[in-house]
């Protein structure tokens, strides 16, 4: 009670300051007059009486201050006073203020932006209710790409029924590519992306349609009425966000499909499960129809509450190996394994290390910023030493002066944080729309309350960090020497210089670490670009082709041949070919077994299978090492033709000629007609794996689709319309699919690395710039301080080059110590990021040498400007000027 009343009284008194001050004033006046009167009564002269009264009273202002402090919010009073003073001094020193705020804004902005990325990808839970229960399940050895990550529908259903750890096991069809559905309406058919998901997929995730309803059980059964759910962006784009669309039908690939609902904007399938992909509409997977399709479903599950990952894994380990591949073919067994991952971990686990590195890099930037500002403030404080000494002499306590300095740095960092927040907003808004970067959850990037809190925290911590050094320095300073130091013109005390040098050295060392880190990542990136992918992505482009062969292989052959002939006649097109799946996009795998041996079923890894037409190898730029290309005639019913990659040839027929060998693929006999160089299927950084190429027109296997690939010297975009015209002639229902340069696929696969390299490199650049600024600041300041000394030296006969040399050698000394410290730190740091490097040693001498040269050169440049100024000092002026 009492405390509350007291607090209220204090707050009240804060707002009633003028009347209360007047009150006190009157009270003190009365006090003094009474004292004087009494003194006079005791026989003193009025003058002496007044003097005695004042002495006894003891400092009117002090008494007033103390009374104010006791009665009100003295702290707030002082804060306001400090703020006013700060704003006055800062606006007087506009250059300094601008530079300081800008530096801070860059440092803090980078930190907020990276924090938002880290927060979205790593810290924040996935955007599903109780997302910690969600898991992703795939097989233990996913060497065979998507096919060996997935399960058959029978296996999925059995898993769902027999397990005891999961509330639900569900899945989605893992093999649908972009633009796989034609939306037929008025005008040209439009390519859209559809995805079939198990009936319980959305409920398992906890996603409820914003409009309408989820699929009913009947709608997931064979021969049911076709239905679809729309994604929010597609609903907005295609149907102008019209709620009346629910219940209507649209024509998809010629099938009237009823729209049963619209999903909420918060659900972005691609962001979580397939970075960079957008899904326009979801349809129920009719599991009965998919039974014989092999491994098709990517599994997602929701754990029962209280069940740990380890428990679920233990159950999966005993249950999953018993699952059957196909209930109708018990003899095939299953041979499944299962690895259960937390969904969050699955989505962003691979990025954890990169993100942490990124976070550390911006942290270092912030440190450099702090060091830089400490330096700037120290220089300023040195120039203001006299001012502070004067204020101390006039009665300001040290605490008060330090508080004033901290207020200054707080104001600076808050202003910097505000500007930085603006920058971060821009960067984040830009990043959120970078669909081409294959990072998960990117589209859900935004600056949230967490980020704002982080901003505030950073601002306060930075202001403390960079405000403290000058504060301590000043508070510990000697009053007399400060007043003297400024007037003597003999340069600053050595200790002051030493602190600033140490700051610059640490700045250089930090910049070194950043540069080495960025350099190593950059080298890795260049090495990745240098990897021989096994195909030539430049000068090639692809478009998904639709045709109607009514399921006939012979008809398919004729159509494809015609398409290729006509496309090759387009001026500019060198060669053309067709494949069902492009490298670095979707893939599927089968097994390939040599005929003349018997092997265990799981002895060989799954093999990526591509169904291609003649000419495809030339079009995509693959190298046929041995044998011949596929021919249109390779459609023998009894024996197919296969081209294997070098890995397969080396493994299955070591030291022998694979041409002419007989093997078995998916239960059919094939003979090997050629060997091609390995192609990196998933990305440049992973091994090629096992690959084989079969004919698009083989009677045994059906293609997953048709991608027309053309090779041209012209920019691919210039051919888009003529290729489309040909395709439309052949098939009026050809949707307006995107004409994609193959390079885009490669870039997409490499985009996370590119993204990180870009960021880390720009941070390193920023760090270097800041370090250069720091060096410049210190050297320039010391030149100013030593103007007289330099003047005397010159008067005594030192030449200009002597002066330049001495300044530069001092710069170089600082730089070398910094580089040495930085190199040692870099060695430690580079070991920590070794896992992120590609074909680059953590001690890569080129990177280290480049770092030393770069920082040395920048330091010299930063030192040269003040050195030149020093050499232009006029001895006469310098000596006369006190």
């Amino acid at each position: 009670m009492g405390a509350l009343r007291r607090a209220l009284a204090r707050v009240r008194s804060f707002y009633q300051k003028p009347p209360l001050d007047a009150d006190l004033e009157a009270e003190i006046a009365a006090h003094l007059e009474m004292a004087i009167e009494e003194n006079i009564r005791r026989g003193l002269t009025p003058l002496e009486g007044r003097r005695q009264a004042l002495i006894r009273f003891g400092g009117i202002d002090l008494a007033k201050d103390k009374q104010r402090e006791a009665r009100g919010l003295m702290k707030l009073d002082i804060l306001l006073q400090d703020l006013r003073y700060t704003i006055r001094t800062l606006s007087r020193d506009r250059g300094f203020t601008l530079v300081a705020i800008l530096i801070l804004a860059l440092g803090i902005g980078a930190n907020i932006a990276v924090f938002s990325v880290v927060n979205t990808l790593l810290l924040r839970p996935l955007p599903f209710p109780n997302s910690q229960q969600l898991v992703r399940i795939h097989q233990k050895d996913p060497e065979g790409g998507d096919s060996s990550m997935t399960y058959s529908t029978d296996a999925m259903q059995a898993f769902q029924q027999q397990n005891r750890s999961f509330q639900q096991i569900t899945g989605y069809f893992a093999f649908s590519g972009p633009d796989n559905v034609k939306l037929i309406g008025n005008g040209q058919p439009q390519p859209i992306t559809g995805l079939s998901v198990a009936g319980n997929f959305l409920p398992t995730l906890g996603v409820t349609p914003m409009l309408g309803r989820n699929f009913s059980t009947e709608e997931t059964l064979k021969n049911s009425r076709p239905v679809a759910l729309l994604s929010y962006p597609f609903w907005k784009r295609q149907f102008d966000a019209n709620p009346a669309i629910v219940g209507q039908t649209i024509n998809l690939d010629g099938t009237q499909t009823t729209i049963v609902g619209v999903l909420p904007n918060t659900f972005d399938f691609g962001a979580v499960f397939s970075p960079g992909a957008k899904v326009d509409l979801f349809s129920p997977a009719i599991l009965d129809n998919m039974e014989d399709w092999g491994n098709t479903m990517a599994l997602v599950g929701r754990l029962k509450s209280g069940i740990t990952l380890a428990q679920a894994q233990a159950e999966a380990d005993s249950l999953v190996p018993r699952l059957l591949f196909n209930n109708k073919h018990v003899d095939l067994g299953g041979g499944y394994t299962a690895q259960v991952f937390g969904l969050k971990d699955y989505v962003s686990g691979k990025l954890r290390q990169s993100l942490i590195v990124l976070w550390c890099a911006v942290g270092m930037i912030l440190l450099i910023v702090c060091v830089n500002l400490s330096n700037l403030l120290l220089a300023r404080a040195a120039a203001r030493a006299k001012e502070f000494a004067m204020r101390t002499a006039l009665g300001a306590g040290r605490g008060r002066i330090v508080r004033q300095l901290l207020t200054e740095s707080l104001v600076l960092s808050l202003a910097g944080a505000l500007l930085g927040l603006g920058m971060a907003f821009a960067v984040i808004a830009w990043l959120a729309h970078q669909g081409s970067i294959a990072l998960p959850l990117l589209s859900s990037l935004h600056i949230d309350v967490d980020a704002l809190a982080w901003t505030l925290l950073i601002a306060i911590v930075t202001s403390l960090l960079f405000g403290l050094a000058p504060g301590i320095k000043l508070a510990g300073g000697n009053l007399q020497s400060a007043i003297k130091d400024g007037t003597m013109g003999s340069g600053q005390g050595r200790s002051h210089d030493r602190v600033r040098s140490a700051l610059v050295i640490s700045e250089i060392a930090l910049a070194c670490v950043l540069l080495v880190g960025a350099g190593l990542l950059l080298r890795s990136f260049l090495h990745v670009l240098d990897v021989d992918l096994g195909f030539g992505p430049s000068h090639a482009a692809a478009i998904s082709v639709s045709y109607d062969d009514s399921g006939g292989v012979a008809k398919r052959g004729v159509i494809l041949q015609q398409i290729l002939q006509r496309v090759e006649q387009i001026p500019g097109v060198e060669t053309a070919g067709i494949t069902d799946s492009l490298p670095m996009s979707t893939n599927r795998s089968f097994g390939i077994l040599p005929k003349d041996h018997t092997y265990r079923k799981d002895e060989f890894p799954a093999t990526f299978a591509y169904l291609v037409t003649p000419g495809y190898f030339n079009a995509i730029g693959m190298h046929l090492v041995k044998g011949r290309d596929i021919r249109w005639e390779d459609n023998d019913k009894s024996q197919g033709a296969v081209i294997v990659n070098e890995t397969v040839a080396r493994f299955l027929w070591p030291g022998q000629d694979p041409i002419g060998r007989i093997a078995e693929v998916a239960g059919y006999e094939v003979h090997v007609i050629g060997v091609v160089a390995d192609v990196h299927e998933t990305s440049a950084e992973t091994n090629a794996g096992w690959q084989m190429y079969l004919s698009q027109t083989s009677p045994q296997l059906g293609p997953m689709g048709a991608n027309l690939v053309i090779r041209t010297k012209l920019p691919p975009a210039s051919l888009a319309s003529s290729v489309m015209a040909v395709l439309r002639q052949m098939n009026p229902n050809q949707p307006a699919n995107e004409f994609k340069p193959i390079q885009m696929l490669v870039d997409h696969a490499g985009s996370p690395r590119r993204f990180f390299v870009m960021l880390v490199a720009s941070f390193a650049g920023l760090g270097l710039l800041l370090a250069a600024l720091g060096i410049y600041g210190v050297i320039s300041y010391s030149v100013t301080q030593r103007t007289q000394e330099i003047g005397i030296r010159m008067a005594l006969g030192a030449s200009r080059s002597n002066v330049v040399g001495s300044v530069l050698s001092r710069t170089l000394r600082l730089a070398l110590i910094g580089i040495a410290a930085g190199a040692i730190a870099s060695l430690l740091v580079s070991r920590a990021i070794a896992a992120l490097l590609f074909n680059t040693a953590p001690t890569d001498p080129v990177t280290f040498a480049a770092m030393v040269l770069l920082i040395g050169a920048v330091a010299l440049l930063a030192g040269y400007i003040p050195a030149r100024r020093a050499s232009r000092i006029n001895p006469m002026v310098a000596l006369r000027n006190n």
Partner: protein, 116 residues
């Protein structure tokens, strides 16, 4: 400028002010200051100005009241008087000080014996 010394002084001064007001009734700042000086046999030479911080503090705690009035020699002055709460607080504080000074006396006496 040791803060602890200042704190001790503050606490003491507050108590002195309460005691003064309890004994002599309503009084203005100067009167209180003089009274304390006199009562202490001029051993306490306080900076009279500091009494105003003490007064406002006590007032905010509700231990004393203040009112403008006319002094003996017809001067406008602010008169302070102790409240009921103030008397209670005075009792408590006085007892505390008494105990403290007793303890200090005993401790100091003991250390003198210990030296023998």
């Amino acid at each position: 400028m040791g803060e602890s010394k200042l704190d001790l002084l503050q606490g003491t001064l507050d108590l002195m002010v309460l005691q003064t007001l309890a004994t002599i009734g309503a009084q203005h700042g100067y009167g209180i200051a003089r009274r304390i000086e006199q009562a202490s046999g001029d051993e306490v030479r306080l900076n009279q100005g500091t009494i105003y911080a003490s007064l406002v503090r006590l007032q905010q705690r509700g231990w004393i009241d203040a009112e403008w009035g006319i002094s003996d020699n017809n001067r406008k002055a602010k008169f302070y008087s102790i409240t009921r709460g103030g008397r209670k607080q005075l009792e408590k504080d006085a007892a505390y000080w008494q105990r403290l000074s007793d303890v200090m006396g005993r401790v100091l006496a003991m250390s003198a014996e210990g030296n023998l």
